[in-house]
Amino acid sequence: MALSLALVMLASLLAACGPSTQQEAAGNKQEGELINAAAFGEATIAFSFYGNYDWYTMPPWGKDLATKWIRENKKVEITAISSGGNAKQKLNTMIASDELPDVIWLERGADVERLRAADLLVPLDEYLDKYPNLKKWAGESTLNMLRSPDGKIYQFPNWYTTQPNGNAGYVVNKKIYMELGSPKLETTDDLYAYLKKVKQNYPNAVPLEVGSGAEGVEILTSAFAENRPSLFNVMQAVPMGDELTSIFTDPVFREAMVYASRLFRERLMSQDTMSQTRDQLAEKIVSGRVAVLAGSSPTEFASRGDNMLRAEDPDDGYMMVWPLRKEGLDKNKIYPGDFKQLGWNVSVITKAADNPEATFAFLDWLTGPEGQRIIFWGPEGLYWEGTDADDAPIFTEKFTTDIENRNKLMDSTINFQWNGNTVYVDTSKSKFEQTLPEEKRNWETRWQTEITWKTQYNGTEFVNLDPPGDTEEGIAAQSIADIYSETRAKILLNAKSDDDVLRLLDEAETKAQQVGYAKLLAYKTEKWQENVKKLK
């Protein structure tokens, strides 16, 4: 480890010896053709792209139908820079050696702010009025939230939205449910009774699967109060009035942990949730051995399982149920998951870019209707032909008959979806789904429109609450995140009674206060209140 840290520094030393190389390369690129500012679509524009994720590998540009079309018709060339499976180290090395890519695709927050503070990013404000799509589709309040402390916008959002989206919730195994007589499954007491029945009758099934790291337990917390998304667990901060307070003393969290511990002790919950791998989890779900599944995105494996199970027995498969609640609460105020207007992550244009304006113009086009249609469903004439009054694509018959090739095309471009336009894509998708008979509808889209999109909380005001890692609050945040995950694990694995659970939570509170929880909560509260003001 010391070696790799040292290598980062070594790279910076070498770069200091020859800082001119990169500029020379950039100069060569421009030779021969003069690029004016608004060249997008006319002259060739070329830039390098780096996705700051361990898992991310950009597919070769122009090798699939969609990017081939863009390359030929819009004259865009993109070179990929790979993270080599170690994104954090790669980004640090590039910063230290002054060899930044032209566009970086990364999480909002600390890294963006680090780059901005070092004056390495290009502000996008002046382009926003010139190119219409982002401004139109993202909306004013989302753009305001993207503003950096200096008041400018540096980030191009991905999957930004003005309507709820997300998949968090509960999936139920249809066959087991029907064989047990389709009992009422609405409250936490119903769930407990149901899981007991499953355990008695199906010794091989997992009554409640909560995914890896007991992620489903966070979802369950939302059942114990109204307007209480699982997001507050992840934040380790619970809003009360104008202030964020400790998660360990939060009565809702405490009640949920007592409930979860009981399920675990009575072996109604997956026992290996703390150690299982994704593959083990997928196997259980796809083979139909899970009776109830709770998760922040349970749809991915469940839709796969649904396809497999239904192929063998049309009555088998998975379905979603309306989010569970504690007896007496309003079912329309229960939010297992949340969405943020800002979406998932962002692209930033660095000062290394030769022609930032053209790069922005391209990104703006890509997030607009035409770009989205092509990057999602391929060039016109294949799976869609023409558009309707709302600019949504009119899908051809091939779209439903040639499923194999269509999926191939859509899979090949999934890693080019850098600035997904949620509202446009979701509307186009569900509009089309409505025209299909039920058995032909996509499993995920069906449950998204029926349940999950109606039960996700707007968590926009809680973005960017995390302090930078090397500050006092950041160090405290790290310790508290550790205390939190350790306490949850201990509650599930070690607690022998409800009293044990409460004692562990009290211990966690004491420990957290010792490492500076109060200071961290004050910091987060301040950031939160800033957001609230921006959103007004």
């Binding site: 010391a2 790799s4 026992q271 791998t277 090397d470 201990k490």
Partner: protein, 305 residues
């Protein structure tokens, strides 16, 4: 004069000395040059300002490290895990080599050797995958076996229980490396003069006596050299194996060692100076232990230097 004599000798065998140059260059470039990076631990290193412009802060990061709430826990885990690995993992291949030496059926011996050293070539990702599915509560072979023979009523959550972690870690490590490490001892045993065994058996020494009185003393120099090296590595409690097998927060309090801590804090949270300070602390202790072990070994006449 003695020094001059030495240089003369080196000069005379220049063609042979030439061969060591690539190795020296390698160590210089990849071990010595990056070493200036440890200076980072005395700075508030900022990646944008670079090494030359980051402010110097003296021993601040060392102080923070020693006072961190995790410090004693991390130290305890590092020491315990390395000692366990040393006390069990070091003698194990010697024992295997001695036992293999007594096997007279060549085919059987070859098969055992091959089977026992193959796991060395598997990466930790694969080995930890094996271990996780073997020990899983849901259809894990070990739990199924124990349930069948009636040792337990319900599956045990091996991988999430702190009390089992050290055992699993050390056992897996020995299984993976025992065969490969025993090769060098087998080679040493093969070099023992057969006449000694013949003389001993004429004198009436049993197989056991031969093992203790001839084989072991004959390979003792090798054992001591390897022991000195192992002591220098004592604080290297492991990295990949712990990162993969001990990823669950349920076992962190027994699994977090210096290297995983440095990784978590340094790379994941970008606290470079702090992580470098922790790494440097570890390196200093390792060097001290290596020197100490060598000092003791010098009395037996088998030291490294």
């Amino acid at each position: 004069m003695v020094l001059l004599g030495r240089f003369k000798r080196i000069f005379e065998q220049w063609d042979i000395q030439l061969m060591v140059l690539p190795a020296i260059a390698f160590i210089f470039v990849f071990s010595y040059i990056p070493m200036y990076g440890v200076l980072m631990s005395f700075q508030d290193y900022n990646i944008f300002k670079g090494f030359l412009h980051s402010p110097w802060v003296g021993l601040k990061h060392f102080g923070m490290f020693f006072q961190a709430p995790e410090f004693w826990n991390v130290m305890r885990n590092t020491v315990v895990i390395s000692l366990l690995k040393f006390c069990i993992g070091f003698p194990a291949p010697i024992l295997l080599a001695l036992m293999l030496n007594e096997v007279k059926n060549m085919v059987f011996k070859r098969v055992i050797q091959t089977v026992s050293y193959l796991p060395h070539f598997l990466s930790w990702v694969i080995v930890s995958g094996f271990v996780m599915s073997l020990l899983s509560t849901d259809n894990g072979s070990v739990n199924m076996l124990f349930e069948r023979i009636g040792v337990i009523d319900e599956p045990i959550n091996f991988l999430s229980m702190p009390e089992y972690f050290w055992t699993i870690l050390v056992t897996t490590g020995i299984w993976k490396e025992i065969g490969f490490s025993s090769i060098v001892y087998l080679a040493a045993i093969a070099g023992v003069d057969p006449h000694m065994y013949e003389a001993a058996s004429i004198d009436g020494a049993s197989r056991f006596k031969q093992m203790f009185l001839i084989t072991l003393p004959a390979i003792m120099p090798i054992i001591i050299i390897f022991m000195i090296l192992a002591i220098g590595n004592l604080l290297n409690a492991g990295f990949e194996d712990i990162l993969l097998l001990g990823a669950s927060p349920a076992v962190r309090e027994v699994a977090d060692v210096l290297d995983t801590y440095v990784y978590r804090i340094g790379i994941q949270n970008s606290r470079f100076s702090y992580a470098t300070a922790a790494g440097l602390f570890k390196a200093v202790i390792s060097v001290a232990m290596l020197a100490g072990a060598n000092y003791i070994a010098r009395r037996t006449g088998n030291s490294l230097w």
